[in-house]
Amino acid sequence: MAIQRRDFLTLAGGGAAAGLAGCTGLFSGGENGSGNESNSSSGGSITGQELVLATTTSTYDTGLLDEVNAAFEENFGTPVQAISQGTGQALETARAGDCDVVMVHARSQEDEFMQNGYGINRRDLMFNDFVIVGPSDDPAGIGGSEDALGAFQAIAENESLFASRGDDSGTNTAELQIWEEAGVEPGGEWYLETGQGMGDTLNQASQQGGYTLSDRGTFISQQDEVELEILVQGPVEGGPEILANPYGVLAINPAVHEDVNYQLAMSYIGFLTSQEGQQVIEEYELDGEQLFFPQALSEDPNFQQYVPEDWQPDGENGGNATEDNATDE
């Protein structure tokens, strides 16, 4: 029922849009109408529906997402509408039921989301790592260190400029965790919160000769634009495990938001975690470097990937949710 209602509204909305486009045809040469209509009705799609994905800026800005989504569309005929936000904002969009599926990289936030019943069927998807980047003159002397905590402590002691995203993103969450484990309360004039995405933050760090924590993918895709270099490597290049950056993908629980497109969300998750989807991820390169490492195909199926870590089933958030929903109306 819910899906039918959505269909109807999509049609009604499409009709209204076409009507509006008709009115404005005078100004815009009429081409608008057809352009937008093909967007909203998406000819050739199996289901006639579109999947709304909320994801982090890193998957988007590196170009991986376009690659993956093109492959998905080729298989299912369903276009993906990707909204790139920080992890916190993406989960907030999901919490409001404004998207069907989320791809993020902050396990603690994902766990909270799952535990509150908003998410369902979480899967480990892929990983890459974080790197500590800074100016080549390296005032805090952290270059080549294999100790991320020590590097952060050195930056703090030296009061070298550090640009934090400060935007509740996955990278920001990881950064704050490192500060905490390093026993440093970041603050003071050397610690800047940019409140922006990774690219903007790299730019600011570069302009002001400061350090920052970046995911490797975004850094590689931007390294020609900034005067920064990797000073502390993550686990992909043999660095410490605390710099690991795992990505998860999860569907919005249709028992909480009845009008999310749960079936499409699961097809998407299914595709991403299939051989083919994982291969697309593995083969995606930028400047000859592999940016993401597939993690879904495993010989050792880890139950904890589907549920929050240390999950204790209590019957409240069980798998019956979808069936309840189906008989709901």
Partner: protein, 235 residues
């Protein structure tokens, strides 16, 4: 049309021209629709407020004037709350669609068009209205006469509204989500939000190019409206 020619030029540019074209198309579709709708609402309101004395007129004028400078990101937030699945309009399924962008641009443009038109129609001499009535004109006739007399001011109002709508980034980013498909076809990505994204990714060339397009569109619309309205009003 001029637009077609302008878009054809893109093919010779060193950018993915379909990407740029679809972005420009989204921008024009959203902003033109929003401005047409706001004009349809704003003009009658401006005529009513301009000619009718009623209690609270001062307040209404103050509200219109405040609306002209209302921060766009706040409008974006309010529209997001309204159209989000949990909001009062959530059942319409409008969040992250061009229609939601039209809504926020409508809210931004309407006060500007109302305010500037109001100034234009109140500037029309009382004798014009008296004459129109004396000729036996209906209320509608009088309104049309006034609109005709004030057409330059009204054109300026619509232009100002269009400028506010198409160059705005905060609210459309929040309610539209800046969506393009994997093949580069824009869905809710318009020129301003694309510039934000390109700059974030360090692709400054594309960002600058889009910026140049935006400025050209505003200049072009300015020129067209100037020509349409400039002929009248020679007093």
């Amino acid at each position: 049309m001029a637009l077609e020619t302008a878009l054809a030029v893109l093919d010779g540019m060193p950018f993915e021209s379909n990407y740029v074209k679809s972005i420009v198309r989204v921008s024009l579709y959203v902003s033109v629709t929003a401005v047409v709708l706001s004009t349809l609402v704003s003009l009658p309101v401006a005529l009513f407020v301009g000619f009718k004395d009623f209690p609270g007129k001062g307040l209404v004028t103050a509200i219109i004037n405040t609306g002209m400078g209302f921060p766009s990101v706040v409008v974006g937030l309010v529209v997001l709350f309204a159209v989000s699945n949990q909001g009062p309009l959530g059942f319409l399924d409008l969040v992250f669609t061009p229609q939601a962008m039209i809504m926020s641009q409508f809210v931004l443009a309407a006060p500007v068009i109302t305010g500037v038109s109001l100034a234009a129609v109140t500037g029309i001499d009382q004798s014009v209205r008296d004459a129109a009535y004396a000729m036996g004109g209906t209320r509608l006739d009088v309104a049309l006469v006034v609109i005709k007399e004030a057409r330059f001011g009204i054109a300026t109002a619509i232009l100002a509204g269009f400028g506010r709508a198409i160059s705005e980034v905060g609210s459309v980013l929040i309610v539209g989500g800046n969506i393009a498909y994997a093949d580069g076809e824009a869905y809710t990505r318009n020129i301003t939000t694309a510039i934000t994204l390109e700059a974030r990714q360090g692709r400054y060339e594309t960002a600058m190019f889009l910026g140049a397009i935006l400025v050209s569109i505003v200049l072009l619309v300015n020129a067209i409206v100037g020509r349409l309205g400039g002929g009248g009003r020679t007093r």
